[in-house]
């Protein structure tokens, strides 16, 4: 077997495992089953150039797509989860944290950046889905609050990019309270008349969905992203009904009037730049 056939015969599946970022040379698209050259996929921002499948990406990779080259820095990297409840399921929370740090870096499930999107300086919080399913605990809540406050200080827009299974159960009620905390701070952006945009990516569920993800002035989503309050399995068990086609997908939400637009990852920079400029333009200035 030559090196080439070996590579082609064992393609990595893009969405084979939750949150895994493909790192092989060749990748099999979960959407159209086509085998793609990794570099080609990266060039199209991890969107399958053939079928448009949006592959889950890490915060660091998304940042590299979103911001202008060399225009951004990661902020608030000094916050770490702690096991206040001494929580233990089949595994200790402290061990889960260690495992997650190893897998997805020690930035917890959200990362803050300050950077330029086509020239518009923006404070951004991005969820890291690979880190414990992007679950929101105290660190994530604090990072969102700090990201918003950075926008307030700089008088710039705030962009929240979600990818989360919901609240982090291992922090018990403290994780639920992050919903109240982040929603409260969002009021200050509104008072300051600073744009707050939510970009919902696959998946955005539970406590994250039912709080800060839905409080932006404008809410957009990536194609086919799963977005909802209750998980589809829970709903199916509860109502014992077939779920409608496309249920809880971005396009379904758009149809039901719940989000403003579905925006392809490759067009998000242009979309956001234009939107932020409109929202900051203030054509009608109150006469004195």
């Amino acid at each position: 077997m030559s090196w080439l056939t070996r590579l082609i015969e064992r393609p990595k599946t893009i969405l084979g495992k939750e949150g895994d970022t493909p790192d092989g040379l060749w990748i099999k698209c979960a959407g159209c089953s086509d085998t793609l050259y990794n570099k080609e996929l990266e060039r199209s921002e991890m969107v399958c150039p053939r079928c448009g499948q949006h592959v889950r990406v890490s915060a660091a990779q998304r940042a590299s797509f979103l911001f202008d080259v060399d225009s951004y820095d990661e902020c608030d990297t000094n916050l770490f989860s702690q096991d206040t409840l001494n929580f233990k399921d089949q595994m200790r929370y402290t061990d889960r944290i260690k495992a997650a740090n190893k897998k997805a870096g020690n930035g917890d499930a959200a990362r803050n950046y300050l950077g330029d999107i086509k020239g518009v300086t923006t404070s951004v919080t991005m969820f890291e889905f690979a880190y414990m399913g992007g679950s929101m605990g105290s660190v994530v809540g604090e990072k969102i609050a700090l990201g918003m406050e950075r926008a307030l200080e700089r008088r710039c827009p705030y962009l929240l990019i979600t990818a989360s299974g919901g609240a982090r159960m291992q922090e018990g009620i403290l994780s639920l309270m992050q919903m109240a905390k982040t929603s409260s701070v969002a009021n200050r952006l509104q008072e300051a008349k600073l744009p707050f945009v939510c970009l919902l990516t696959d998946p955005t569920m539970g406590g994250v969905s039912a709080s800060v993800a839905w409080l932006g002035d404008v809410i957009i989503a990536e194609p086919n992203a799963l977005i909802g309050f209750a998980g589809p399995r829970v709903i199916q068990e509860t109502v014992a009904e077939e779920l409608p086609a496309g249920f809880q997908r971005a396009e379904f939400l758009l149809q039901h009037g719940l989000i403003d637009e579905v925006v392809d990852r490759r067009e998000q920079r242009d979309y956001l730049k234009t939107l932020f400029e409109h929202l900051m333009a203030r054509a009608y200035r109150q006469p004195n």
Binding site: L79, L174, S184
Partner: protein
């Protein structure tokens, strides 16, 4: 017919023994009255022992005890002139959340809370207290109404969670809950929330953001039900007791975490066996808290609420 949970069975046995004895009347030779009194004392000790040593899983079961009072059981005992207000003005009237204006001693207040229902018929009508978006939107409409008329808001939490249904998702369950969290944070009137049964996740929090949070002694508040947590983290619902221990959902746990302003006592037999007693404890705490909050200027009130919310969470800064 009173319902007794598995671990309450000794109480049931003792109670029926006392009842039997009381029925015997004066026919027998032994001094019935004395014996009944002795057994009653024993029963009180038993009750005290069972409820005070209850595991977290048992408290979770008590918090959703079938005989536990609902908000509408308390309303006539705590308030006067309750006028229920219905509907979200957009889609429907969600019976899982009730609300209205009432008089609380000398004050007019807005009362909003979950209502699980007692009879099977009422439970179905009220969807077991699991609200849909229209329920949260009705609540928000009433919060806004209260704000406009400088009326303090008292909310009562008792839900296993927001309704996980197709219809709820289609109408924006997430958005409805999120909106309430955001708007309650800046509502320009005092907001006091009390967990009177089950505080189930986002569906509870959606009417639970405010200036004061109280919990009745045998209530719980958690990010997910013990069963739901067990299903996810243990992949088996039968680990619910372990999940309840891990989640630390009791009033005592919440107080230790510094997340509540007080535990509201319950009568010795529990709210589920002494409605009036429970209502008295509830009214006392709420009245004192309201009296205190009514003295605080609105700017201070909002600043304190903002700080309180901003500081939620426990993490390490390095």
């Amino acid at each position: 017919m009173a319902t007794y949970l598995e671990f309450e069975r000794p109480i049931a046995e003792m109670t029926s023994k006392i009842e039997e004895l009381s029925l015997m009347g004066d026919d027998a030779d032994i001094n019935i009255a004395e014996e009944v009194e002795r057994l009653n004392k024993k029963k009180d000790e038993l009750v005290h022992r069972i409820y005070n040593n209850a595991t977290r899983s048992e408290v979770a079961q008590l918090s959703r005890h079938p005989d536990r009072p609902n908000l509408l059981d308390y309303v006539p005992l705590i308030f006067d002139d309750f006028q229920e207000l219905h509907g979200d003005r957009a889609f429907a009237d969600d019976a899982a959340i009730v609300g209205g204006i009432a008089r609380f001693r000398e004050h007019s207040v807005m009362v909003v809370g979950h209502q699980k229902g007692k009879t099977t018929k009422e439970k179905i009508h009220r969807n077991f207290g699991m609200a849909k978006p229209e329920g949260y939107r009705k609540a928000l409409r009433l919060f806004r109404l209260a704000e406009r008329f400088d009326m303090p808001v008292l909310t009562f939490i008792d839900t296993s969670g927001a309704w996980p249904g197709i219809d709820a998702e289609e109408r924006g369950q997430s958005e409805a809950i999120a909106r309430n969290l955001m708007d309650l944070a800046v509502l320009k009137v005092p907001v006091i929330s009390t967990v009177i049964g089950e505080g189930g996740s986002g569906g509870a929090l959606a009417i639970g953001v405010g200036d004061r949070l109280f919990m009745q002694k045998l209530s719980t508040y958690a990010v997910i039900s013990p069963e739901g947590c067990a299903a996810i983290l243990w992949r088996d619902r039968k680990y619910a007791p372990q999940a309840a221990e891990a989640l630390k959902p009791t009033a005592v746990d919440m107080q230790e975490l510094g997340l509540i302003d007080g535990i509201i006592d319950e009568p010795k037999d529990g709210a589920h066996r002494d409605l009036e007693g429970a209502a008295n404890f509830l009214a006392e705490v709420l009245y004192n808290s309201l009296t205190e909050l009514l003295q605080i200027p609105v700017a201070t009130l909002l600043k304190e609420r903002e700080n309180r919310l901003r500081n939620l969470g426990e993490f390490t800064r390095k």
